[in-house]
């Protein structure tokens, strides 16, 4: 396990460095800039602005400054939110996005995995088809459509009933304001998880050791929950790594629709405003998150699946 960890960390760090470099130079090559004002600005003011943000330094110096800044946790000033540094914006937005993301993930596992098991146990019955159809629907309907449909139903049509939910806003994280966004984020995961669990469960149920367990006379429920589920969950765990990336992209949409002050919304705003430092900061933090999550999943994977352990050792 430790050699694997060390090797993965050794791959992860250069990956991150490449991402930072590519980001930096792409953003600096842009034809437009954060100081393209609609009204003409006197050149002295522009020069002052450029000097203030060190945009008049040679490119290599800007790059090195940025890299060393990152080491100190300094992502530079935001070009549009003048009074904030990118670090402050991320520190503000990241917890919000992570809270919603993890809530969605937990909700999705709690709903999706049982749905998958139910479908697998009744393979090719009406139950199975219902779950499959529902999960196909969840995968196909994009969350920016689902978000608006949810707002239309709970925020507009049912406005005056007891199930009315706020159509947007954050209100410092009030529970009612979290329900729709978290549900909206979770839906595609529920669909994927149900699909993955169903597939792997069906395969596992055919395995010899499951038949043995049943032949011993164990009740079916015990066989499924104690014996089959553990191996059936392996593909589910694998999915959780890439799920972080989906979660972050999902948060862009959900946070934009529901007006939530998370990093997804900052990223979109930054991209629309050409706020280089903000966009780069969010990308780097997200990439680091995804890399770490993939690492964690890989480790979990070696713990769950002895086969992988042997291959890694060989």
């Amino acid at each position: 396990m430790w050699p694997t960890l060390a090797r993965r960390l050794l791959i992860g760090i250069p990956t991150l460095l490449v991402i930072i470099t590519v980001c930096f130079f792409l953003m600096r090559l842009t034809p437009g800039g954060p100081f393209d004002f609609d009204a003409p600005v006197p050149p002295e003011i522009l020069a002052n602005l450029r000097a203030r943000y060190h945009l008049d330094d040679p490119l290599w110096k800007q790059y090195l400054d940025y890299l060393f800044g990152l080491l100190r946790g300094d992502f530079g000033p935001s070009f549009k939110y003048r009074d904030f540094t990118v670090g402050q914006l991320i520190a503000e937005g990241l917890p919000v996005s992570l809270e919603n993301g993890f809530a969605a993930l937990i909700f999705a596992v709690l709903v999706g995995v049982p749905l998958g098991i139910i479908a697998a146990l009744g393979q090719n019955t009406a139950r199975d088809y219902a779950v499959s159809a529902a999960s196909m629907t969840g995968i196909v309907i994009p969350n920016f459509v689902m978000g608006h449909v949810l707002i239309l139903v709970f925020g507009v049509w049912l406005k005056d009933t007891f199930v009315a939910l706020p159509a947007g806003g954050w209100a410092e994280g009030a529970l009612a304001n979290r329900v729709l966004p978290v549900f909206c984020l979770a839906l595609p995961y529920i669909a994927y998880l149900a699909r993955i669990t169903r597939g792997s469960m069906i395969e596992v149920l055919r395995a010899g050791y499951v038949r043995t367990a049943r032949a011993k006379g164990l009740p079916f429920r015990t066989v499924v929950l104690r014996h089959a589920l553990k191996s059936a969950l392996i593909p589910v765990v694998t999915f959780l790594g890439p799920a972080t990336a989906f979660l972050l992209t999902g948060s862009m949409v959900v946070e934009t629709i529901f007006q939530i002050p998370g990093i997804g919304r900052y990223f979109v705003q930054g991209a629309l405003n050409r706020d280089y430092t903000l966009v780069m900061g969010v990308t780097i933090v997200s990439a680091a998150l995804v890399i770490v999550m993939n690492l964690v999943v890989d480790l979990l994977y070696t713990l769950l699946d002895p086969k992988v352990r042997h291959e890694a050792g060989a």
Partner: protein, 294 residues
């Protein structure tokens, strides 16, 4: 006698595809999807030319007209500034489908090249290419598409190139896997013994044999690309006015949600139905072409 020897394998080769076609036709969901997709595609290509109103033309007399308004030719009504909804949805479909097909073509080109080269040549090349694929898998690539769109301006060509450049990974893995099982087969060995060069063997013998899997995967990639495009356009980072796409229409419709829900619902239905159909068709094709079942 020699005629027969030449003719026989040809008949076999064709019957393989005929077999798949027969299986596909037996799959009702797949056939229905194929028909619906054809209708949507033809309507998107031809429709905007046939309708009375152009997608960006404003009808000042019928702003926010409720559907159906046959007299003025607004079958699905108009939007908040008087543009014909049907014309906009069909034109948006043209853009979305075009991005879907072109970006998938880019992904196909890169994915098949990397996959066959890695699988056939093997060794160091394989190691290197597959490490690269692994590495790219662990990076949130959507962010990069957005950064590219921000950096180089939002234009149509860049959009499908950028999306294609991030969607090839799975294709490369699948093709490599297939190639690995093919490279040890006798007919490849025979081609090599006959003096075929590596590019020739890959092009003539490997590529036609991975085509089945590739077609399946193409049908499953197109909806993903359409989704990614509409995601970008929805965020305001994709297609630009006056052009439009399904994602942009959904975004416009969302702004009018309380007044005219149909401006959201109509494009959403068109897009969702298309995505459904591609997925069903892909599943059907997989069943029809899956070598395991043969």
């Amino acid at each position: 006698m020699s005629d027969m020897a030449v003719a026989l394998p040809e008949i076999e080769g064709r019957s393989l595809w005929q077999d798949a076609w027969r299986r596909l036709r037996a799959n009702r969901a797949a056939v229905a999807s194929l028909v619906i997709l054809a209708v949507i595609a033809i309507a998107s290509i031809v429709g905007p030319e046939l309708l009375t109103w152009k997608y960006d033309q404003i009808d000042w007399d019928h702003v926010e007209a409720a559907p159906p308004n046959f007299a003025a030719g607004h079958y699905l009504g108009t939007d908040s500034i008087g543009r014909d909804l049907l014309a906009r949805v069909l034109f948006g479909g043209r853009v979305s489908l075009m991005v879907g097909v072109l970006a998938t073509a880019v992904a196909l080109l890169i994915g098949v090249t990397v996959g066959t080269v890695a699988g056939y040549i093997g060794g160091r090349t394989d190691q290197l290419l597959m490490r690269l694929v692994d590495l790219l898998y662990s990076v949130p690539l959507t962010f990069f598409v957005i950064i590219l769109m921000v950096t180089f301006g939002r234009n149509f060509i860049l959009m499908f190139l950028a999306i294609g450049a991030v969607e090839w990974l799975t294709m490369a893995r699948i093709v490599r896997g297939q190639t690995l099982t093919l490279r040890t087969r006798e007919f490849i060995e025979a081609a090599r013994a006959a003096g075929g060069s590596t590019p020739a063997i890959i092009l003539r013998h490997i590529v036609p044999n991975v085509l089945g899997m590739v077609i399946v995967y193409v049908t499953l990639t197109i909806p993903q690309v359409i989704l990614l495009e509409s995601f970008l356009s929805f965020l305001g980072l994709g297609i630009q006015e006056p052009m439009t796409s399904w994602g942009m229409l959904i975004n416009d419709g969302a702004a009018e949600l309380e007044v005219t829900p149909r401006t959201l619902i109509v494009p959403a239905i068109f897009m969702t139905v298309t995505l459904f159909c591609f997925n069903f068709l892909g599943d059907g094709l997989r069943d029809a072409l899956d070598p395991k079942d043969r």
